[in-house]
């Protein structure tokens, strides 16, 4: 589906094309908010958006009002491989599949960068008719030979059907991406907000158009996919005596891992610069194949002027309310938040916990959380508020509580600081740096709250009680947070950094 702004010329070149996988403008969250703020912060530039989803959902709708400098929105769905044509027997292009075998070998044991001609012919499918590769892959004898040979060599002990469908499902989206890359209009700069399919599309576009690719990673896509795949494929092996592979997964399941690792390397090879939000993530990018000379760090920034007026709206007495602002999904470990409130009510019976965030991403998990609230008899203490305007809730909270199992650089901490709210957070991602400071000068400002171990509701409850019951300590944390965000994490700094990057790469 392509939505185009009817007033603008579809062939006119935009300044920046964002490549977005499963995020802005159809999904709310930190990354989406970041993209939105960046576009608004640079009204002098024109933007196009390329949204990559799995399948079109019936209830899919824009979650953000697109700024006026967004001229195009292209939506593509990678699991939608188009109407299935009647299968026709064909021999297939042996030369193409021979090169494809070389590409697969590179994926298995990558040595240096991928040869450019191999990339162009196999990944980009240059010089081939549109749809030819898809037809070849699905129906040709050459493709069948390659699949059966790989199966016999690598994993003959597993069911062929499992291997076949793993191959089909991993390759289908890649063929679709090649078609998308051929069809997109020109842009001065491409900017991908993750590796994965968006990053690979960026690499394809960079090769095809010779226009620069900027890559910003908020989390680490490969790591997140690895966790998803492991939790899906790892099976209990009690009483089994076969030797599991080191990863705990079968060969055809590892195909997925190798795919994402491989396309991340392709994205890193094509992108310059490669941006992360904080140092450990930059190190992770280098481990995964990024050239250290191309990497840099640009932390997230907060619109302090937007949130500062909320400070005067705070009540005199500290509200005994902990707020978790974020999607209600397992990675936010909302159940630990609920257990924290349960433990806190032992010291503060009127304490409340507000869950402020969209609930549509994982409805089963929302039900589990509500059942936990019910079983702990916390119906009067915990409120599921759904999505709210953050300005409406921040002044009514006593503490922001982040119980996530994993985070990168949560913007919500900066937003809370700017509004005068201390935070409690688990020791993940950049959270400790945000609460306690990154360097000596930053640490001298003091602590903006408390950092707690993961999945320890009793520790978090004690820390919450210590702050809520001690106005002097709470105020000190509030002031430290305000000073930290005003000095180091202003949105203007982030926008200015990206403006400079766009100028520099646009000149090349």
């Amino acid at each position: 589906m392509n939505l185009r702004d009817s007033d603008s010329d579809p062939d006119s070149e935009t300044d920046i094309t964002f490549l977005l996988e499963g995020t802005y403008p159809f999904v709310r969250g930190g990354v989406s908010g970041w993209v939105h703020d960046l576009i608004i912060g640079m009204p002098e530039l024109t933007f196009s958006l390329v949204y990559l989803g799995a399948e079109k959902k019936p209830d899919e709708k824009l979650r953000y009002e697109l700024p006026p400098n967004v001229h195009h929105l292209y939506c593509h769905y990678l699991m939608d491989l188009g109407p299935s044509a009647t299968p026709k027997a064909c021999a297939g292009d042996d030369a193409y599949f021979s090169k494809s075998a070389q590409l697969h070998e590179w994926f298995r044991s990558p040595q240096g960068e991928l040869d450019e001609t191999l990339f162009n012919s196999v990944v980009l499918q240059s010089g081939r008719k549109k749809g030819a590769c898809t037809a070849d892959f699905f129906y040709s004898e050459a493709a069948w030979s390659q699949i059966t040979e790989s199966y016999s060599d690598a994993c003959p002990e597993i069911p062929f059907l499992s291997y076949f469908w793993a191959v089909r499902n991993t390759h289908g989206p890649l063929l679709k991406l090649a078609e998308i890359a051929q069809s997109l209009p020109p842009s001065r700069i491409f900017h991908s907000v993750s590796t994965g399919y968006a990053g690979l599309l960026g690499a394809m576009l960079q090769r095809r158009t010779r226009r620069p690719l900027v890559l910003t990673e908020h989390g680490i896509y490969t790591k997140e996919r690895k966790i998803d795949l492991q939790s899906m494929f790892l099976q209990d092996r009690q009483g089994r005596f076969d030797e599991a592979s080191e990863s705990g997964m079968e060969h055809h399941e590892q195909l997925w891992l190798r795919l994402f690792e491989g396309i991340a390397r392709l994205a890193y090879a094509a992108a310059d610069p490669i941006i992360s939000l904080y140092e450990p993530n930059r190190q992770r990018q280098i481990c995964d194949g990024a050239d250290p000379a191309r990497t840099r760090i640009i932390p997230n920034g907060v619109d302090v002027e937007r949130y500062a007026p909320l400070r005067v709206l705070r009540p005199q007495q500290i509200p005994k309310v902990l707020g978790l602002i974020g999607r209600i999904v397992p990675i936010k470990d909302v159940k630990t938040f609920i257990r924290t409130i349960h433990a806190l009510t032992a010291y503060m019976p009127d304490a409340e916990g507000w869950l402020i965030g969209p609930e549509e991403e994982n409805p089963e998990y929302v039900i589990e959380c509500k059942e936990l609230v019910y079983s702990l008899q916390l119906e009067n203490n915990i409120k599921f508020m759904g999505f709210q305007r953050i300005e409406d809730v921040l002044p009514r909270l006593g503490l922001l509580a982040l119980t996530s199992i994993s985070e990168a650089f949560p913007l919500v901490i900066g937003e809370s600081y700017a509004s005068g709210l201390p935070v409690l957070t688990t020791d993940v991602g950049a959270c400790r740096m945000l609460v306690e400071g990154s360097d000596e000068a930053d640490r001298a400002l003091g602590s903006g709250g408390s950092v707690l171990p993961i999945s320890d509701p009793e520790a978090m409850a004690r820390a919450a009680y210590a702050l809520l019951s001690n106005p002097v300590r709470w105020t000190a944390a509030q002031q430290a947070g305000i000073q930290r965000v005003e000095r180091y994490y202003r949105q203007a700094q982030t926008v200015a950094s990206y403006r400079e990057i766009y100028k520099a790469v646009g000149r090349k």
């Binding site: 790892l234 009690q238 599991a244 080191e246 257990r339 994993s406 999945s455």
Partner: protein, 336 residues
């Protein structure tokens, strides 16, 4: 066989005779009628006789054979019968003469496993995995140790997953989280399933569902990270255990489970009584002794702790928890 042959000859004779009746250039109605009668009898005789002279594996389908032979003989006068007798029967018999059995061939070794594997790698114990998770410097080693917990029973895996949950490496931490969550989801699903069937009319089924609920909720309590919610779950488990025991008092496993639940809730008298009942209902006393020892410890009856532990001795003299038993049986242990 001789009889069948005679009948066969008879049917052929009748068939030839019937056809001869049509030999006249202008056969009369009587001729045609006689032909049909004789032809019918010949076909009937053949259809009844021929199957008995076929090779053994063709004799099974009586009705089908009869209909086939009768149809061929009846609708193809003379030639059909001759074809069946002199064509079909010899052909089927010839097929039965199999080629001489070949000698056994020594086939090459097949790729399928034909022997058990030699396990050159020793089984890793929970203790070793604990050490790796707590002290190994490389995140990959800790991740590997975590994957190895999939081979362990839940009771051994759980403490290791809790250690991994606090790991500094995202990969390890997230995997531990998803493995714990998976266990929790499986238990929650089983609990929901049992709850939905609790209103059954059958007392035995209700007992089984209560027992399953007590067991699963008890396991879920072990997954809990906070003591408050864990105690709430223990209380729910106790309710279901007691409900189950009201329906079937002599279930030793459920009595034993109730004892453990009550012990966790610090109801020592109740726990002791439940463990005693479990023993009476058939639970090996050596399984019950460690818990009675624990109760004695909590009640500060330290002199009884050693005797309970010593009573766990096996027939061969092997004493589980022998270090613990030795400590408690050496000298007096008085409350502080």
């Amino acid at each position: 066989m001789i009889l069948a042959s005679l009948y066969g000859i008879l049917s052929i004779g009748l068939e030839i005779t019937s056809v001869c009746l049509l030999g006249n250039i202008h056969p009369s109605l009587d001729h045609i009628y006689n032909f049909l009668c004789l032809h019918f009898i010949a076909c009937l005789t053949a259809a009844l006789t021929i199957p008995s002279v076929l090779p053994a594996n063709y004799r099974g389908a009586h009705v089908t054979s009869f209909l086939f032979i009768f149809s061929v003989a009846f609708f193809i006068p003379l030639l059909g019968m001759l074809g069946l007798v002199f064509g079909l029967i010899p052909a089927l018999w010839k097929q039965q003469q199999s080629e001489p059995l070949t000698d056994w061939l020594l086939s090459p070794e097949r790729r399928l496993p034909t022997q058990t594997k030699n396990r050159t790698r020793e089984t890793v114990s929970p203790g070793q995995l604990t050490g790796i998770l707590q002290h190994a410097r490389e995140g990959n080693k800790r991740l590997q140790a975590l994957i190895t917990t999939l081979s362990l029973e839940t009771q051994h895996a759980l403490p290791l997953l809790r250690i991994a949950l606090k790991d500094t490496d995202d990969n390890v931490r997230l995997l531990a989280f998803s493995l714990l969550k998976r266990k929790e989801n499986e238990l929650s699903e089983a609990i929901r399933e049992s709850m939905s069937h609790l209103n059954t009319d059958s007392a035995n089924e209700r007992f089984l569902h209560h027992k399953a609920l007590a067991t699963n909720i008890w396991e879920l309590a072990h997954l809990e990270t906070a003591s408050g919610p864990a105690l709430i779950l223990c209380d729910r488990a106790r309710t279901h255990a007691e409900a189950g025991l009201q329906l079937q008092q002599s279930d030793a496993d459920l009595q034993f489970l109730l004892g453990r639940i009550l012990l966790k809730g610090m109801n020592y008298d109740g726990a002791r009584a439940a463990f005693r009942r479990a023993n009476e209902c058939g639970i090996d006393s050596r399984k019950v002794m460690p818990f009675l020892a624990e109760i004695a410890f909590h009640e500060q009856r330290f002199s009884d702790v050693g005797s309970y532990l010593e009573a766990m001795q096996f027939a061969d003299g092997h004493l589980p928890l022998n270090h613990l038993a030795a400590y408690w049986n050496q000298g007096k242990h008085e409350p502080a």
